[in-house]
């Protein structure tokens, strides 16, 4: 490592610490709120750390008693997992072939730009047509319907990401495989997709997060526990006559867990540098 003066070292560490605080402070505060008792939360001056640790809200939200807040929350948690999961998987199924085609056939690249252009439209512009389409297809308040809507958001984005991933894989490798006698599906399965795995994992992760966090369409197209997602359920918690901020915070903590697990799981696939060594360099 290069030599650095003491001041520089201290400054670098301070900067890193600042970044850490900025990123983690909201999360930490969310967690503290979720375990604080109501008196602690409304006390003045503010209690930075609760006098008593209160875990009861986790119990409330995760209970399965009929017609309770917990039942609604757990149902919405599963709805979110289903919708985001389905939309992500479907988006990858659409993105991989189309991104490969666009990457290997530059002459059809304009089509991707056309799709991206529709992406620029604000969601509210599409809300009414989408609502009517879903109503016509009988898919309102339905996880499949919502996943389908999310697919329209995720597919352009994942295709774009996958295209740049495929672009970085030299075409000569595929030419070599062609001459070695591999069919198109074999080339994709044995060579191109393994090499594009890091990009694919990134695309999947971001697509999942995008779908997980989506609120606007979910609010419009779902109406009860059959399809309501987490974001809508959390909003419902705040929408009553009395808002229990601790409960909202607890829901937030619980809602953050599944994407966190997905992220940790994907980390293995995110290891980059797989393509190095195939060609010169």
């Amino acid at each position: 490592m290069e030599r650095r003066s003491l001041t520089a070292t201290i400054l670098v560490h301070l900067a890193a610490l600042l970044l850490l605080v900025v990123i983690l402070a909201p999360v930490v505060w969310l967690f503290i709120m979720s375990i604080s008792s109501t008196p602690d939360l409304i006390a003045k001056p503010l209690h930075w750390w609760p006098d008593t640790v209160d875990l009861s809200r986790y119990g409330v939200l995760l209970s399965s008693v009929a017609n309770s807040a917990g039942e609604a929350f757990v149902a919405s948690l599963f709805n979110s997992i289903k919708v985001a999961g389905m939309a992500t998987v479907a988006a990858l199924f659409v993105a991989v072939p189309s991104a490969w085609a666009v990457s290997r056939t530059p002459s059809v690249g304009w089509s991707l730009y056309a799709v991206i252009a529709t992406y620029m439209l604000p969601p509210v512009a599409l809300a009414v047509p989408l609502y009517m389409t879903l109503a016509w297809a009988g898919l309102l308040n339905n996880v499949f319907g919502l996943a389908l809507v999310y697919l329209t958001i995720l597919a352009p984005f994942t295709t774009w990401l996958m295209k740049s991933g495929f672009d970085s894989i030299p075409r000569e490798i595929e030419s070599a495989a062609t001459m070695d006698g591999a069919r198109l599906d074999q080339i994709l399965r044995l060579i191109t997709l393994p090499l594009a795995a890091p990009v694919m994992a990134t695309a999947a992760l971001f697509a999942f997060l995008l779908a997980w966090d989506e609120f606007f369409y979910a609010l419009l197209f779902t109406s009860d526990q059959r399809a309501k997602t987490l974001t809508v359920a959390i909003a419902d918690l705040a929408g009553g006559r009395v808002s229990d901020y601790g409960l909202i915070a607890t829901a937030g903590v619980l809602a953050a867990l599944p994407p966190l697990l997905v992220g940790l799981f994907m980390q293995r696939a995110l290891i980059a540098g797989l393509t190095s060594g195939g060609v010169k360099g």
Binding site: S276, G277, G278, V279
Partner: protein
């Protein structure tokens, strides 16, 4: 039997014609080098032979079978790419055996073939590694192994040595030569390096602007270049090209009082062209003492460079430049006038208008 035959192969991209009618026939066991500067169409031609590109017109025949429209995998060829194009996610052994794997060759047979190829290329100890753990030269060997194991009718090489450093390039060049002598396979090899072409080929096709300028043995390309272009492309330092006009059997060098009496055999044709270019290889010039008779020209010495095995003397004759490669111990005075003897049989005369050899 000819292993490869190209009949009037043309390739157009829109209005641009990159190949303007290539005709070529290659006997089995030959080592053909397509030599030319970048953009001359040599790589396009190789891709057409490989089937990675289709010719706009004309026919490609491999082993007396037309392969127009035939998929690359069914052409009985193997190709080594400039960038090696190894599969980074597979071990060396699987890389080499991939072609056999795709052709459903049983695993036992496959392992045997991979071992054999690895032994020939001396990479047996690398079979378990990934391409990223290999050096450039080793990757090159693996790429060759991948072609070798398939035992194809024709090997195609696309500038395989251009990514290696000078020393390794020479080593691999010898290695390729050894492989060709040992296996006796038919090879088509693309390069812009004239030394690679001269050393490896049994047959060189010098290409220019989508056409074959000359197709001949290395010896003939070097000693009897068909055109001025071929003459200037092959050889280092490059051949001297002196503008001259012919009158009474003497080629008068433009911008100078010296003239070169032409050999009898060339006089008639040269006289018809009048404006000619005299090509003299630097190594066919020798130092002449003043009373020496025979063919000689006088030039003013400007720069003397010792490269080690030879002394490269740059001089001017009138307004034109003359380079000579001399033995390293030659006594040369910079700034002085110097007479050079010319080997009359090594004179190349080109028609200035057409560039063709007279």
């Amino acid at each position: 039997m000819s292993a490869l035959e190209l009949i009037n192969v043309r390739k157009r991209y829109g209005t641009v014609e990159t190949l303007k009618g290539i005709d070529l026939s290659l006997a089995s066991g030959e080592f053909l080098v397509l030599l030319g500067p970048s953009g001359c169409g040599k790589s396009t031609l190789l891709n057409i032979i490989a089937g990675l590109a289709e010719a706009t017109e004309g026919d490609v025949r491999i082993g007396d079978r037309s392969v127009t429209g035939v998929h690359p995998k069914d052409r009985d060829i193997a190709m080594v790419f400039q960038s090696y194009a190894l599969y980074p996610n597979m071990s060396v052994a699987r890389n080499i055996g991939f072609g056999l794997e795709m052709r459903n060759v049983p695993a036992v047979e496959r392992t045997e073939a991979v071992q054999k190829a690895a032994k020939i290329l001396q990479i047996e100890n690398l079979l378990g590694r990934k391409p990223s753990e290999l050096s450039g030269g080793q990757r090159q060997r693996v790429a060759i192994g991948r072609a070798l194991v398939r035992d194809p009718q024709i090997f195609l090489f696309d500038e395989p040595l251009s990514n290696l450093d000078a020393k390794l390039r020479m080593e691999m060049r010898t290695e390729l030569k050894r492989l060709h002598q040992m296996l006796g396979t038919t090879i088509v090899y693309v390069t812009h390096d004239q030394i690679e072409a001269m050393t490896l080929a049994t047959c060189i096709a010098v290409m220019r602007d989508g056409q074959i300028e000359q197709l001949a043995t290395p010896d003939e390309i070097y000693n009897r270049p068909a055109t001025r272009y071929v003459a200037s492309f092959v050889g280092s330092p490059p051949m001297n090209m002196l503008d001259a006009t012919v009158a009474d059997g003497i080629a008068q060098i433009v911008g100078s009082v010296s003239g070169i009496p032409l050999p009898q055999a060339l006089r008639e044709n040269a006289a018809r062209a009048r404006d000619v270019i005299i090509g003299i290889r630097p190594e066919s010039l020798t130092l002449a003492s003043s009373e020496d008779a025979g063919l000689a020209i006088e030039a003013k010495v400007e720069v003397v460079e010792l490269t080690g095995p030879e002394l490269v003397v740059t001089s001017t004759i009138g307004s034109q430049r003359l380079t000579a490669s001399l033995p390293p111990k030659s006594q040369i005075a910079v700034g002085a006038s110097q007479r050079f003897n010319i080997d009359a049989s090594a004179l190349h005369i080109f028609d200035k208008a057409t560039g063709k050899r007279i």
